[in-house]
Amino acid sequence: MIININEHPELIFGAVPDGNPLHAFMRTGMSSFPESDKNTGVRIRLKTRSRFLKFQYKYKYVPIPANMGQVMVNGLCYSIRNESGEILVLDLVVDRGNAFVPICKNNSEHKMLLYEFHCPALNSLNDINIEVEDNDVEPYTGFAYSSPILFLGASISFGCGATFTRATMADIIAHKLNSDYYNISVQNNMSLDASVVETAANAIKEPWLVVVELNTRGVDYSYCQTNLMKYLETVFDLFKNSGIIFSDPFLGNLGDDFAKKHELCKAAVKELAKSTLRQVSYIDGTGFFGDLPKECVSLSSYRVNDYAHLLYGERIAETAAAYSYIDD
């Protein structure tokens, strides 16, 4: 049988369906939100004992930027695991002319297999079909937390510089913590814009953790002075029951007045954390890489690569794990 994913929102993770089939994969359900239709963080997760699974997706071709690859723009990466969570297959699907692509064809013993498909960060998929043997399909959940992680941030949180979605900082954190997540990051503009936080809070209720990459790149010190407190207070106010991890924009330390902006942000977060007695961490972007040569972690002076995504992901997951929010 063929399952149209638009008709099965329970299989869609990281997106807020708004009832319009064309917008089934919007990240916030609000078309006014910039890049809302981009699929970063959106996943199809299902489990089935079907002997085979075929996958079809339709998309509008998007020219690939120089710091991106096919899978981040026009394709999907996926994993297949057994019930113990052990990886059986890691692979990718890139457009095959709208054909059904065999993802699994040899589950002859009808073992329960867990499938996770990561939609392309920079595209807007609106039609995914999955063909399985019969009606034996369930959502693949089993998260350690009953509520998701929310990512607010800029280009790195969005996934820029990673070769595929599983290699993005956001997905690494969620994977390591075994948590669902929503990625409401915006690639550019919207620096310290509190309206982004408000939009996210309207869409995603009660995340257990909020990870905020403070987007101070591309704006000067006085802009930060003017907008920072309102932005931070909005995060603190709207996510009262969440742990919060703030970070500098990584590799931002190469900017002229980055040190000043860093000190400003760090002090403001510290002050708010103290006054609200909240569980808050601040990841210092300046000393993050230690002695590791910059060539290991960068594409250019301000663009990070897969290695950097991995290091951020590991560090933030480690910090978040100490928050001890694991549900019984």
Binding site: P63, G69, L90, G161, A167, E295, L299, S300, D306, G313
Partner: protein, 347 residues
């Protein structure tokens, strides 16, 4: 960066009248890691004997394409000029499946210190889809030479360097070692899935050890033909040899039939140098046979065996590899570190 419709089109970003543009032939003395420079930039001069040995249409097609891929090829020069312009025409206009465009089609810029030979990354430039002809003005830092890695999964159809009038290009300091390290391998050795061309592990080794390299890697077509061993042996001298042959074989029988004869044929050309065999990263299916060959010759020959499965056993593959075959930068640096740790004491 400026995109052009035609290679000879007049540029808008610079006043071309202030520059002399050197052709591919005129800059060939500054191009490293390229065995054949007088017929485009390519690896093997004549692939017909290899094709005859395989007789496999699909594999031959991949071989012919990858023979012009410029992985491992570098421009290396110094100049007193403040800047130079690189104008390039690439064959492929689109991204490959497993890499970023900055790896498949990127020119990766590094500064070298002539006194210490330390090489530091600056940035990478690459075209967006579906562009393939472009020009980039590169600032030259004082008292530094430039080292520019070519695309890992693309062919350079045409290349020109604009040098301000009154200035010339000069040779950068020689590498530490007289002879290069030669790599033979598959798509991983060709650079998938490094984030940019300079981060393919052979290129990292080039910088870490200050040694020239030649990268005979053929994505999807590394099948260890005797004719390939002959081509490598006759075209290149080497201070060390890395062999990454496994998953491109058409089945286990072909792999076992070809592995040892390929090794022995290369040894005829390179009898005394260290050779490193790289095993399988995927599921280890090929490691048993490589291990057998390794055990057979390791006492007689200067021979080493790297087992990626062992190296990566504590790594979570979820984020390390897109397809359980090609690893990203973390893996590239780990592999480079491992090879450097073996070779730095040997050559």
């Amino acid at each position: 960066m400026e995109y052009l419709e035609h290679f000879d089109q007049k540029m808008k970003i610079v006043d071309e009248s202030g520059y002399n543009f050197l052709t591919m032939q005129e800059i060939s003395g500054f191009v490293y890691g390229c065995p054949v420079k007088d017929d485009g930039f390519k690896k093997i001069r004549n692939i017909d004997p290899i094709i005859n040995e395989n007789g496999d249409e699909i594999s031959d097609k991949y071989l012919a394409v990858a023979n012009f891929h410029t992985s491992g090829i570098r421009l290396r020069f110094s100049t007193e000029a403040d800047n130079v312009i690189i104008k390039a025409s690439l064959k492929r206009k689109y991204a490959t499946q497993t890499t970023l465009i900055s790896c498949s089609s990127g020119f990766d810029i590094y500064d070298g210190d002539p006194k210490t030979s330390n090489i530091v990354h600056r940035y990478v430039f690459a075209p967006v889809e579906p562009k393939s002809i472009f020009a980039e003005k590169i600032t030259v830092n004082k008292n530094r030479f430039l080292q520019i890695y070519f695309p890992n999964f693309n062919s350079v159809s045409d290349l020109s360097i604009g040098v301000p009038k009154g200035y010339t290009l000069e040779k950068a300091p020689d590498h530490k070692y007289e002879k290069p390290i030669v790599f033979y391998g598959n798509s991983v050795t060709q650079g998938a899935s490094a984030s940019r061309s300079g981060n393919a592990f052979p290129n990292i080794i080039n910088r870490r050890m200050n040694v020239d390299i030649v990268n005979y890697s053929y994505s999807a077509a590394a099948r260890a033909e005797i004719a390939m061993a002959d081509a490598i042996g006759t075209q290149s001298d080497a201070c060390a040899l890395i062999i990454d042959f496994n998953k491109n074989a058409r089945g286990m029988k072909e792999f076992e039939d070809r592995y040892e004869p390929f090794y022995l044929r290369l040894r005829q050309y390179f009898p005394d140098i260290p050779v490193i065999l790289i095993g399988d990263f995927h599921i280890g299916a090929y490691d048993k046979h490589i291990s057998k060959v390794y055990e057979k010759y390791r006492k007689k020959d200067d021979l080493y065996f790297i087992r990626p499965l062992e190296m990566f056993k504590n790594m979570d593959r979820h984020s390390l590899t897109i397809d359980n075959i090609h690893y990203t930068d973390k893996g590239m640096f780990m592999m480079a570190d491992k090879i450097c740790s073996i070779l730095s004491a040997k050559i």
